[in-house]
Symmetry: C2
Subunit: 197 residues, 2 copies
């Protein structure tokens, strides 16, 4: 049936969905009520319609400003720079950071498919310069891989005139790791970054 | 975000989708183009709009008759009775049956959630009686479990006046099975159903 095959192809585009699972989802809707099919559609169209980027930090949000930028209790002198909106959630869960964020939506890297334009860095620099109160701290929380590293170094270079305190996430052994199974690079960072007890 | 949570709940209703996967699907649509979201919606609504039940055998189809009932080359004196449309596909793959089908969309069983009304059996009996050419063979291909068994016996009872040749799928050891790990019931059926070599 043509209409079933079309739905199967649509589901196959979802991340991690193979032919069997796409068929299972589609068959489910053969049986499901029309109301249920409509609920998925409405939710989907609603998402595409109402989710925008925060005008300050580029996080996803439903209004002009995201809930973090709107929060009066946050420290407005500190910006943590992340690659994607999802990273904010994970940093928020640690409950030890109370500043603002800035989402790059990618990295600067000539070899990466996620490459972002330099205008995004200019946008960040503009935000830092225009900020009131003055930004006192930048935390570079890009991933500890080549692209993330390059991006962090580049941003540090751009911002070093405007912000005094620029830091990078600490490297080292993850908690619960075993030295035997830790790669040399991580171990060398853990050695360099050793702390007094 | 409300609209994201609503989409997550909609995806969670799909069979076998847990909270993590529903979130992954939803986040995918945050990034995906609006065209892609619309394609899924259109495919879904199209399916609900265009898929009907075949007026002859109750299989899913997009027209009045399904492709099997329409096929002039099929043997119109034989009906294979199945519980659900998916079963037809699997029987078709064996390529050894060339008759028609009838889909019950459930079983008759007082303990099953999939219980069907007796009017469905009357509908089947009506089809058998009205058929031209006369139905010469009925194959009961319900599942080999309590509900399927009850349903098969009941249908055999209803139709035994109208059709001479009523049979049930053969029971026994599945190919590739190991006697050591076969349950007693299956083994007892395999013994009763032994064939000469």
């Amino acid at each position: 049936m043509k209409s079933l095959n079309r739905l199967i192809s649509a589901f196959r585009r979802l991340p991690g969905v193979g032919p069997k699972q796409a068929e299972r989802f589609s068959s489910y809707f053969l049986k499901a009520s029309e109301a249920e099919a409509n609920e998925l559609c409405t939710a989907l169209q609603n998402l595409k319609k109402s989710v925008k980027l925060c005008s300050n930090c580029l996080n996803y949000c439903e209004n002009d400003l995201c809930h973090i930028c709107k929060d009066e209790a946050r420290d407005r002198t500190s910006i943590c720079i992340v690659e994607k909106p999802k990273d904010i959630e994970l940093i928020e869960r640690t409950k030890i950071y109370n500043g603002l964020y800035h989402v790059l939506h990618g990295t600067i890297s000539p070899v990466s498919a996620k490459e972002i334009g330099h205008h995004k860095i200019k946008q960040l620099a503009g935000r830092v310069d225009a900020s009131d109160p003055k930004i006192l701290e930048i935390i570079l929380a890009t991933n500890p891989d080549t692209e993330g590293e390059n991006t962090a170094l580049y941003i540090a270079d751009v911002l070093k005139g405007s912000v005094e305190n620029i830091s990078r996430l600490g490297y080292g052994m993850p908690l619960g790791a075993d030295i035997e199974y830790t790669d040399e690079l991580t171990l060398s960072y853990a050695l360099k970054g050793r702390t007094k007890v």
